[in-house]
Amino acid sequence: MAKFALTVNGSPHEVDVDPDMPLLWVLRDELGLTGTKFGCGIAQCGACTVHLDGQAQRSCVTPIEAAAGGDIVTIEAIAGPEAKAVQDAWIKHDVPQCGYCQSGQIMSAVALLRETPQPGDAEIDAGMTGNICRCAAYVRIRQAIRTAAETLKG
């Protein structure tokens, strides 16, 4: 056990955990932020995606010792024009089915649009390929990202 400081959604936290505990379980079990999901534990499905210092990061394979000191944003506090455009588009297109992967999808989509504000279809696929949706809501994920990009164009 060791103490680690981190900023989550703008608030400073200190946790006393094993250094190898993944950030995912720090968020979920230590801080009670359950919007970030467990899906595979090996960075294959993207359900655990958060933003660490502005970058999309798979929290299930990020040990707390590597994330300590970082600025972490989760689905609970994602904000800004890209986030609003994405979440509005998700609702407009009724993207979610079971909904379990959607936090991760949205975190990846926001990161994609911050990097590439007007992605083409191939860029959308490339940017989202790390996020599995077992319901295969992919048609609507694509549509929603296109809509969000249109919104951001203004």
Binding site: G35, I91, C98, C133
Partner: protein, 747 residues
């Protein structure tokens, strides 16, 4: 006072046939028959306990129902603020019953969609059974189909009572009152009011025994695009799943289950496990060794450190190739006869143009995004379960049996589930009963949450069973299909379970569905089946038997049609004749949608498939090319036509077709569970490969207009995609793929 609640709740569905309004009658004539006051006073208090309790399933969407003053039946709660909460008897894991069932209520209630809320109903089979099953549970694409009249009657009864209450309050005749978009109005006097204004007064009235239902032409909500009630919560991280639920003092439990199906734990050494920070206890359970810890990570580290010795004497130790060889040998001879027309054997021996094909379908895991989980707390007098319970009555019974309680002493709060595809509906309630044994093993001291890792899920069995099909077909001199002989070999899902009562003459209908009811006119036909018994537990998997029967029949048919030199669509239409209008309807619709017959881009080809499952008819056309990366089909576009009767929510139907195409496609292209000396080779999404967004085709859906009663859409989109892709692939490459998946299975 539960009996009072039961009495009124069961009234609306006492009659399974629709209560149609007589042509000359109207609401007003019936309103006169409404009785006096009395029972309503009690009814208003008869909220099922779980409805009053916190509902994690719907933190954002719920109206909760706990402040409702008007509860006319088991399904409808109307609060003073006019919100209408519908208690949903079906689990929401993506197919849309929260929205669909609330739509049915709102339609007859003449509510505004913005005032509708949805919440999970508690486990109570008397009130909330699936009318198609007789127990509370979800499956077989029945949620809308079995609720269609029940929910409408629930809404109609509530409307009836609100109108009566308004009439009485205003001192006007009920027949002058209209209801539209949640507004109750009396034109003559100019009075208007909201539902909440009359909720208390309505609660004192007796529910009508036979509320009138609208004619379909009067629908204002059914058939329109209503936004899903669960989307906002699922787009903001606020939707609560079992994985997210905690209780004070809760311990996380990971169970080390046997590495072979049929093996059992003999002994274990937990010395290292107990040294792990946060590990609290280790117990031997009937199905494995449980590690109890404060949180997932400690439980996982503790379990990793566990050493277990297994008794493998009764285990399945064969590799997949051996099982397939065994099934294949059996398939050489006909099995138990399930369908016969003419004399297939004689026609085959007489014909010159014969083809034979053997198909192999691998075991498949469901792999829902939320791994399996169940939270339970228990005392000596009762238990409470939080789970994505797909078969509440079975889970309730299983937990009660383990804890030596009566079923009604087990409360279940059904939460959103992160997918299921059938996995949460095991006949033995594997996850709920494991959770019950886990809480019992520590003296019911702490609430426990059993969590599966992804590896536990992939290794855990309850797969779509492995099947081998052998088909023989013959053409006559004109190239028409003269004979068809189909032998299926696989495991029964129902045998030895409470569902065995659904077997007929020893045959499990899920083994042969879709093979024994071919709609095509084939003069000589024989279908037979062999049942195999293995220690690997099989289970229904999104569209069940149709997952393999549609592939085998629709690709083999296509092969025979091609051999006869005919067009796949034209030949199917000819074989269907004029007695299968719903089949031909979707086939013609998809051909038109895709412009079948138009020139296809160089390097691409199109294939078609048609299949009925769960009383819904679906035809799909797929356009494919060859992937330069891995040599498997790249599917560019899929056109879908579906006839599912009355389309309650067209956008959800489209979403289910899109998702069904993706789910089916991922598995026929990439997925398979294999065994190496009995051990499951795959373990996570790196080896049990899932479809990803870059592999998802565009999907265009046409919904065939129909006035038939609605049927399901959760599963029927799945069966046609495999054969549509395979038929396109055969046209493109000349190769008939009969051993799934298309891509090599990794491990």
């Amino acid at each position: 006072m539960q009996f009072l609640f039961d009495k009124y709740a069961t009234q609306p569905n006492a009659d399974s046939s629709a209560t149609r309004r007589p042509p000359e009658a109207s609401r007003r004539t019936v309103l006169k028959s409404i009785g006096g006051v009395g029972a309503g006073l009690v009814l208003g208090l008869q909220l099922p306990t779980a409805a009053k309790a916190e509902s994690g399933a719907a933190a954002v969407i719920k109206g909760d129902g706990s402040d409702a003053t008007f509860a006319p039946n088991a399904f409808v709660r109307i609060a003073p603020d006019s919100t209408v909460t519908v208690l949903i008897k079906h689990i929401e894991f993506g197919q849309g019953p929260y929205t669909g069932l609330a739509t049915l209520v709102a339609e007859e209630l003449d509510a505004d969609w913005s005032q509708m809320r949805a919440e999970a109903a508690p486990a109570n089979a008397a009130l909330y059974k699936n009318l198609a099953f007789g127990v509370q549970g979800t499956g077989g694409s029945t949620a809308i189909a079995n609720s269609y009249e029940q929910m409408r009657k629930a809404g109609a009864a509530a409307r009836h009572m609100l109108v009566e209450a308004a009439a009485s309050t205003w001192g006007v005749a009920a027949d002058g009152i209209t209801v539209s978009k949640g507004v109750i109005a009396h034109k003559e006097s100019g009075k208007t009011g909201a539902f909440g204004d009359f909720a208390e007064a309505a609660s004192r009235l007796t529910p009508p025994s036979e509320p009138f239902l609208k004619e379909p032409k009067e629908f204002v909500l059914i058939g329109t695009h209503l936004p899903r009630l669960d989307t906002p919560a699922k787009s903001t991280g606020q939707a609560q799943f079992t994985m997210d639920k905690t209780r004070p003092g809760m311990l996380t439990v990971l169970i080390q289950r046997p590495p072979l199906f049929g093996a059992r734990a003999k002994s274990f050494d937990d010395t290292e496990t107990r040294k792990v920070n946060g590990v609290v206890d280790v117990k031997l359970l009937p199905r494995g060794v449980a590690v109890y810890a404060k949180g997932f990570w400690a439980a996982k580290k503790g379990r990793d450190a566990l050493r277990v010795e297994w008794d493998e004497s009764g285990a399945e130790t064969r590799s997949t190739a051996e099982i397939v060889a065994d099934f294949s040998k059996t398939a050489a001879a006909p099995g138990k006869l399930v369908k016969e027309a003419g004399d297939a054997e004689r026609a085959l021996s007489a014909a010159g143009n014969i083809i034979e094909a053997e198909y192999v379908f691998p075991y498949l895991a469901h792999a829902p995004m939320e791994t399996l989980d169940c939270l339970i707390k228990a005392t000596d007098s009762g238990a409470r379960v939080w789970a994505g319970s797909q078969m509440q009555t079975i889970d309730q019974g299983a937990v009660a049996q383990v804890l030596k309680l009566r079923p009604e002493e087990v409360e279940i709060e059904t939460l959103f589930a992160g997918g299921s595809f059938g996995r949460r509906a095991t006949p033995i309630a594997d996850v709920a009963s494991e959770a019950a044994t886990a809480v019992d093993a520590i003296g019911r001291k702490n609430p426990v949450k059993v969590i599966f890792t992804r590896e536990d899920d992939i290794h855990g069995g309850f797969y779509r069973p492995l099947f081998v099909h052998k088909l023989k077909g013959a053409l006559d001199a004109d190239g028409n299909i003269a004979a068809w002989d189909h032998v299926l070999v696989g495991q029964s899902i129902m045998e030895g379970t409470p569902f065995a009562s659904m077997m007929k003459d020893g045959i499990d209908p899920t083994m042969i569905e879709g093979a024994e009811d071919l709609p095509y006119a084939i003069p000589n036909l024989r279908v037979s089946v062999h049942k195999k018994t293995l220690a690997v537990p099989p289970l229904w998997w999104r569209s069940v038997g149709h997952t393999h029967t549609a592939y085998a029949t629709e690709t083999f048919l296509d092969e025979l049609i091609a051999l006869g030199g005919h067009d796949p669509v034209e030949a199917r239409l000819k074989l269907l004749g004029d007695t299968h209008s719903r089949y031909t309807g979707v086939l013609k619709a998809v051909a038109e949608l895709a412009d079948w017959g138009a020139t296809v881009e160089e390097g691409r080809a199109r294939g078609v498939a048609l299949h009925k499952s769960f009383n819904s008819y679906v035809a799909e056309i797929a356009e494919v090319s060859k992937s330069e990366e891995d040599g498997v089909p790249r599917v560019h576009k899929v056109w879908v036509a579906v006839d599912c009767g009355v389309a309650v929510n067209p956008d959800i139907i489209r979403a289910q077709m899109e998702g069904g195409v993706g789910y089916g496609l991922g598995h026929i292209l990439y997925s398979g569970i294999t065994f190496d000396k009995g051990r499951v080779v795959q373990s996570n999404f790196d080896t049990y490969r899932s479809l990803r967004i870059n592999e998802m085709p565009e999907v265009e859906v046409a919904i065939v207009k129909s006035a038939e009663a609605p049927t399901g859409v959760g599963e029927p989109g799945v069966p046609p995609i495999g054969p549509a892709v395979a038929n396109a692939w055969a046209k493109l490459t000349g190769k008939r793929v009969r051993n799934l998946p298309f891509a090599p299975i990794t491990g």
